[in-house]
C-alpha cells in the first residue's frame, strides 16, 4: 500500500516540477514503470448520488453518511484512486442501498421503475427479474451485465422470494446487492479485447468521459455510443463530447471540479464563533459555497469565459442569505448576479466569503492559513509544515498595545529566520486580504488602526486585493496550476515525468485558446491519451507530505 501512496504523493511533487518550484523533486531520474494497469476509483458521494438519479430518477432519496473522501495532492479525485471501503463504511453503503431499494419497490415508484411482476406467463418472475436486473445493471454498472451475472441475480431473486414469501422482497434484496457491489461502487477499467496493451474498452471510455464532463455515469446516448463502438473513432468521440458539453449537465461537471479544486466541501464542517461573527451560520456557509460555484460557472460555462478573469471579476452570484456578509441589499429571492461597482473591495475569487471564511480561525482571521491555501491550491506550490519547536512568545498577544494589527504581530514572526522562510510566502498574500474578517465581511480597521493591504507577489509590489487579483490574472503560474490540476482530476492520479509532454501541450493550447476553461475540458476529453491505462512507477523515490485537511497546521 505504501508504494501506491508514495506514488500518489510523488505526483504532488511532480505537479509542481513544471513550475520550477520544488527543484529537488524533479531529479528522481525516471523510476521504472509498471505494465499498463486498469484504474480503480471509488465513486465519490456526488457521483454516487448522480448515479442513483441516472438509474432511478430524481425522486429517489439518497440518505446517509458516506465514507469520507481522502485528498491526495489536494484532490479527492486523486484520493479516489487510493481509498478502499472499510467495514464501517460498507455498513453505511449497505444502509443507504437498502433505503434506495425500498423506495424503488414502494408503490409510488414500482410501476415506473420495475414495471413487471410474476404472472401466468412468468410464474416465478424469472423473466421480470431478468429484465429489471438487465436494465438497472446497465445503468449502475455502466456496462451490460454478463449472462452469468443476470442468471445469478435471477436465481437469487427466486430463492429470496421463496424465503421471504414474495417476489418483490427477493428482487429488492438483489438490488441491494447490486448497489453494494464493486462494479457499482468502484470504476474499474476493463481492457479492450483487441488493440494496444494499454487500451480500455468502449464502456470504460464512456465512463471516464461522463465522469469527467458531468461527474455522473453515462446516459443512454453515451451507453449506446459505447455499444456501437463509435467512441473508438475520432468523429464518434467528438460527437459525444460536443453533445455533453452543450448539455446543462456539463455545469454539474464544472462545479464538481471546482468544488474539489477549491476544497469547498470543508465548509460543511466549518464553525464560527456565534458571538464574534453573529452574521455567520450554516445557512450562510452553504450559500457561500454555492455562490462561488455559481460565480465560476456563470463566467466559465455560461459566458465561455477566460479562467484568469475569475480573479478580476466583479460579477458575484448573490442570494439573500449572503446580504449581511457582503453588506448589500438583496431583494430578489433565489440567485441572481450582483455586479460590484468599480472601486469596491469585492473583486475576484479571492474576496469571496467561502474562501475567506474557510481559511480563518473560528474567532479571527488567519493570513497564514489564507496565504497557505492560495499558494497550495491556486499556485500548486508546496508549503512546508511548521517546525515543531517554535518560539511563539514574541509573536502574538492579541491585546498587545503596541502591536495592534495582525500584520504587526505577524511581522514579528519574520524576525525569526526559521519561521520567515515559509511565512514570507504565506503571510504576504494573506495579509492583503486582512480587510475581510474571519467570516468574510469587509472591515477597514482592526483595533481602530487602518489595515495595511500592501504586499509582494513574485517580487512585484502591490497594494490591495484588486491589484493582487490582476497579478494573478496575468501570472502564467496561476493558469499552469489550473491545467495540471484539471489533468490530475481527469486522470485520478499524480503527474509522472512521462506525462510532462502532454501537460506542456495542454498548457500551450490553453493559452492559445484564450484560457477558456471549456476548451481545456474539451481538449482533454478528445485526447486519445485520456483513454489509456496508465503505467505507474514501480520504485518511488520521493515521498511528499500531504497532511489530511482535518489535521493541517494551524497558525
Amino acid at each position: 500500500m505504501s508504494g501506491k501512496l508514495s506514488r500518489l504523493a510523488l505526483a504532488v511533487a511532480a505537479g509542481l516540477a513544471g513550475f520550477g518550484m520544488v527543484g529537488s523533486t524533479t531529479s528522481f531520474g525516471g523510476p521504472s514503470l509498471s505494465a499498463p494497469q486498469p484504474t480503480v476509483r471509488r465513486l465519490t458521494e456526488a457521483q454516487y448520488r448522480a448515479a442513483i438519479a441516472e438509474a432511478f430518477g430524481p425522486g429517489i432519496e439518497v440518505v446517509g453518511r458516506f465514507e469520507p473522501d481522502m485528498r491526495v495532492g489536494g484532490l479527492a479525485a486523486v484520493g479516489a484512486s487510493a481509498v478502499s471501503i472499510t467495514p464501517a463504511g460498507f455498513e453505511q453503503y449497505d444502509a443507504i442501498a437498502r433505503h434506495i431499494a425500498e423506495q424503488v419497490f414502494a408503490e409510488d415508484h414500482r410501476a415506473e421503475l420495475v414495471g413487471c411482476a410474476p404472472g401466468s406467463e412468468d410464474p416465478d418472475g424469472a423473466r421480470c427479474a431478468a429484465s429489471f436486473v438487465t436494465r438497472a445493471g446497465l445503468r449502475l454498472y455502466r456496462r451490460p451485465l454478463s449472462e452469468s451475472q443476470v442468471r445469478g441475480a435471477v436465481a437469487r431473486t427466486i430463492a429470496g422470494a421463496q424465503k421471504l414469501g414474495g417476489f418483490d422482497a427477493g428482487l429488492q434484496a438483489v438490488l441491494v446487492g447490486m448497489l453494494t457491489s464493486p462494479d457499482f461502487l468502484f470504476r474499474i477499467d476493463v481492457p479492450a479485447r483487441a488493440g494496444a496493451r494499454d487500451a480500455i474498452d468502449s464502456y470504460s471510455k464512456a465512463t471516464r468521459l461522463s465522469f469527467l464532463l458531468w461527474n455522473a455515469p453515462p446516459d443512454d446516448a453515451l451507453l449506446a455510443a459505447a455499444a456501437s463502438n463509435s467512441l473508438d473513432t475520432p468523429e464518434g468521440l467528438r460527437t459525444q463530447v460536443d453533445r455533453m458539453i452543450a448539455s446543462p449537465r456539463f455545469t454539474e461537471g464544472v462545479r464538481a471540479f471546482f468544488d474539489d479544486f477549491l476544497q469547498l466541501r470543508d465548509i460543511d464542517n466549518l464553525s464560527k464563533d456565534a458571538l464574534i461573527y453573529p452574521a455567520f451560520s450554516t445557512t450562510v456557509a452553504a450559500a457561500a459555497r454555492e455562490q462561488t460555484l455559481r460565480t465560476i460557472t456563470d463566467l466559465l460555462v455560461d459566458n465561455k469565459g477566460d479562467y484568469r478573469d475569475l480573479f478580476t471579476t466583479r460579477r458575484f452570484a448573490m442570494t439573500r442569505a449572503l446580504g449581511p456578509i457582503y453588506n448589500v441589499p438583496v431583494t430578489a429571492s433565489g440567485w441572481s448576479i450582483y455586479e460590484f461597482p468599480e472601486g469596491d473591495p469585492r473583486i475576484g475569487l479571492l474576496t469571496q466569503a467561502s474562501l475567506l471564511a474557510l481559511h480563518s480561525h473560528p474567532g479571527r482571521t488567519s493570513p497564514t492559513l489564507r496565504g497557505k491555501s492560495i499558494r497550495e491550491t491556486l499556485l500548486c506550490q508546496e508549503i512546508s509544515p511548521p517546525p515543531a519547536n517554535v518560539n511563539f512568545a514574541v509573536v502574538q498577544d492579541v491585546n498587545n498595545t503596541t502591536l495592534k494589527t495582525t500584520r504587526q504581530r505577524l511581522e514579528a514572526h519574520l524576525s525569526d529566520e526559521e519561521c520567515a522562510s515559509c511565512h514570507k510566502a504565506t503571510d504576504g498574500l494573506g495579509l492583503s486580504l486582512e480587510q475581510f474578517d474571519g467570516a468574510g465581511s469587509f472591515r477597514s480597521t482592526e483595533h481602530d488602526e487602518p489595515i495595511d493591504v500592501s504586499g509582494k507577489f513574485d517580487k512585484v509590489p502591490f497594494s490591495g486585493v484588486a491589484a493582487l487579483g490582476q497579478l494573478f490574472h496575468d501570472s502564467p503560474k496561476v493558469s499552469q496550476c489550473l491545467v495540471s490540476t484539471v489533468w490530475r482530476y481527469a486522470n485520478g492520479r499524480t503527474v509522472e515525468v512521462s506525462d510532462r509532454p502532454e501537460l506542456d501541450t495542454l498548457n500551450a493550447s490553453f493559452a492559445a485558446n484564450g484560457h477558456r476553461f471549456v476548451d481545456l475540458m474539451r481538449t482533454i476529453a478528445l485526447d486519445p491519451r485520456f483513454y489509456l491505462m496508465p503505467r505507474v512507477p514501480l520504485a518511488p523515490s520521493v515521498v511528499a507530505a500531504d497532511p489530511q485537511p482535518s489535521r493541517r497546521g494551524r497558525s
Binding site: 486498469p38 421471504l164 511563539f392
Partner: protein, 450 residues
C-alpha cells in the same frame, strides 16, 4: 459470580455451539477455543467478554501541573490531574514514555500521535506503514460482535479519527450521539434479553446476496494491479464482515444482564467547539457507548474527545485552545499558561467522567469497566513546543482481571510503543514485539500486569 458465569457459559454454548453457521468464514472464532467448545478462552481469561478502547484528547498537558511526583499506588494528583480523584483507584498514569523520532522531523501534532498509535513516528497519516494498535486489537477481538469497532468523535467531523488500517484507510468516526444511537439502537437492534427470538429470514436473504457479491472477488482481483488488489481485497473483507454480522442476527443473542436499551438522546444545544458543550456531548456519547458495550454490540471503540491540535474553544474567545498553547504568555506569577491550564484540566474532567460512567454499569459481580481496558492518550506532552517526549498516557479498567489498576508508572525515556505492545498482549493479540526502528520493543509494561 460462579453462578452467573456458568449460566452464561451454558447459554452461550447452547446458543452458539449448537447453531448452524452457514457462512464460510471464521466469524465466531473469537468465541471459541481451538476445539470450538469453550467460550472466550482468548479474551483475557475472563468469563465476560473483555473490551478494548482508546480515549483521545488533544494538546497534552503542562508537565509540572500534571505529572505525579510519587510512583506506584496512591500517587499524588497535581492540579491538572485533580479531576480524576474520584476514579484514581481505577486509573493508572504512565509518564515519561518517549517517542523516538529516529532522525525524522517532528511534524507538529502528527509525529507523536502516529508514533503512539503505530509504533513508528510518521509525518503524515497517509505515510504510516501499519495499522494502528487499536485496529490490531479489534481484528483480534471484534469480529464476532455486530460492530467490529465503534469510532466516535465529538467535534461533528467524521474525519476526526486516529484509527487507520493503513495510510489510505481511515476508520471514519460517528460524529454525534444521535448517529451513534441510530446505528446501535435503531431498527436493527436485537435486545439480547427479550425472551422470544425468531430468526428473521431477511437476514438470510441478505447474506446470500452478499455471498453473490463475494463470488466476484477472485475474477476482479486478477484484473487489477497489486496496489489495487489490496484495496479491493479490503473491500471484500468488509463484505465478509457484513456477512458475519448478518449471521449473528440469525442467532439468539446471549443475554446481557447489564443491557438496557437507552432512550434516544436529546441533542445538546450550542457550539460543539465550546468546552462546556463538548463535555455535555461527551457524557451523552459515553452513556450510549457504555450501553453498546453492555449489550454486546461491540468490543472495541475509539473515543475522540477532541482533535490533535485541539480545536476546543470557549464561546466568544478569538483564540482557541491550540492557538493558546503557542501564543499565550506564561503568567509570571503563576508560572504557567492559565488558559491552556484550564483546557487541559477540562479534558481531564471529561476523562474522569468517562471512567465514572463506565464504572457505573454493573456487570457480573463487578462493573463494565472491570471487563475493559482503555488506553487514554494525547499527541504531545507540552503542547507549546510540540514535545513528544513523555506523551501522557492513562489506562483504565482491569481487563477482566489481567491488569492492576491505580498506579503511576514511570517510563524513564523508554519507547512509548511499549504501551501499545502491552495493550495488544493483554487483549490476546499474539505479538511479541512491536514498533519500528528505535521504537521497536519486546518489553511489555510488566508493572501493570496482574
Amino acid at each position: 459470580m460462579t453462578k452467573t458465569v456458568s449460566r452464561r457459559n451454558f447459554l452461550l454454548k447452547g446458543a452458539l455451539g449448537g447453531a448452524a453457521v452457514t457462512v464460510g468464514i471464521p466469524l465466531l472464532d473469537c468465541f471459541l477455543d481451538g476445539n470450538g467448545t469453550a467460550f472466550a478462552a482468548t479474551l483475557g481469561g475472563g468469563r465476560l467478554p473483555v473490551r478494548f478502547g482508546t480515549w483521545f484528547w488533544g494538546c497534552g498537558m503542562i508537565p509540572e501541573r500534571w505529572v505525579p511526583q510519587a510512583a506506584g499506588t496512591g500517587y499524588d494528583l497535581p492540579p491538572q490531574l485533580a479531576p480524576i480523584k474520584a476514579v484514581q483507584d481505577r486509573v493508572s498514569v504512565l509518564t515519561g514514555f518517549d517517542v523516538q523520532l529516529d532522525g525524522k522531523a517532528n511534524l507538529p501534532h502528527i509525529s507523536g500521535n502516529t508514533a503512539v498509535r503505530t509504533g513508528e513516528a510518521s509525518d503524515t497519516w497517509q505515510g504510516i506503514t501499519g495499522p494502528t494498535f487499536d485496529v490490531l486489537i479489534s481484528d483480534a477481538i471484534g469480529s464476532g460482535s455486530y460492530f467490529r469497532a465503534l469510532d466516535l468523535s465529538l467535534d461533528g467531523n467524521p474525519q476526526t479519527s486516529y484509527s487507520f488500517r493503513n495510510g489510505s484507510s481511515m476508520n471514519a468516526s460517528i460524529p454525534s450521539p444521535a448517529e451513534l444511537y441510530q446505528k446501535i439502537f435503531g431498527p436493527d437492534f436485537h435486545d439480547p434479553n427479550t425472551a422470544d427470538f425468531k430468526p428473521d429470514p431477511k437476514y438470510m436473504v441478505r447474506q446470500s446476496v452478499l455471498s453473490g457479491v463475494s463470488e466476484e472477488r477472485s475474477a476482479l482481483l486478477r484484473r487489477v494491479g497489486a496496489d489495487d488488489r489490496s484495496r479491493l481485497d479490503q473491500y471484500f473483507t468488509s463484505v465478509r464482515e457484513m456477512e458475519g454480522k448478518l449471521a449473528l442476527q440469525l442467532q439468539k443473542p446471549p443475554p446481557a444482564e447489564a443491557c438496557v436499551r437507552p432512550e434516544a438522546p436529546v441533542a445538546i444545544k450550542g457550539d460543539i467547539t465550546d468546552l462546556g458543550v463538548r463535555k455535555a456531548n461527551h457524557k451523552l456519547m459515553t452513556q450510549l457507548l457504555g450501553m453498546a458495550l453492555a449489550c454486546n454490540q461491540t468490543r472495541a471503540f475509539n473515543m475522540n474527545f477532541d482533535t490533535a491540535a485541539a480545536e476546543l474553544r470557549r464561546a466568544g474567545d478569538t483564540t482557541g485552545y491550540h492557538q493558546s498553547t503557542h501564543e499565550e504568555l506564561i503568567d509570571r506569577e503563576l508560572g504557567y499558561q492559565p488558559t491552556v491550564d484550564k483546557f487541559a484540566t477540562g479534558s481531564m474532567e471529561a476523562w474522569a467522567d468517562f471512567v465514572e460512567t463506565l464504572s457505573a454499569i454493573r456487570e457480573g459481580d463487578g462493573t463494565l469497566l472491570d471487563n475493559m481496558l482503555v488506553v487514554a492518550h494525547s499527541e504531545v506532552s507540552f503542547a507549546k513546543n510540540h514535545d513528544v517526549t513523555g506523551i501522557p498516557v492513562m489506562l483504565a479498567g482491569r481487563a477482566g482481571g489481567k491488569v492492576k489498576q491505580g498506579q503511576h508508572i514511570r517510563g524513564s525515556g523508554e519507547p512509548i510503543s511499549r504501551i501499545g505492545l502491552t495493550a495488544q498482549q493483554v487483549m490476546g493479540v499474539p505479538v511479541d514485539s512491536w514498533g519500528r526502528g528505535a521504537m521497536r520493543s519486546n518489553r511489555a509494561v510488566a508493572d501493570i500486569l496482574a
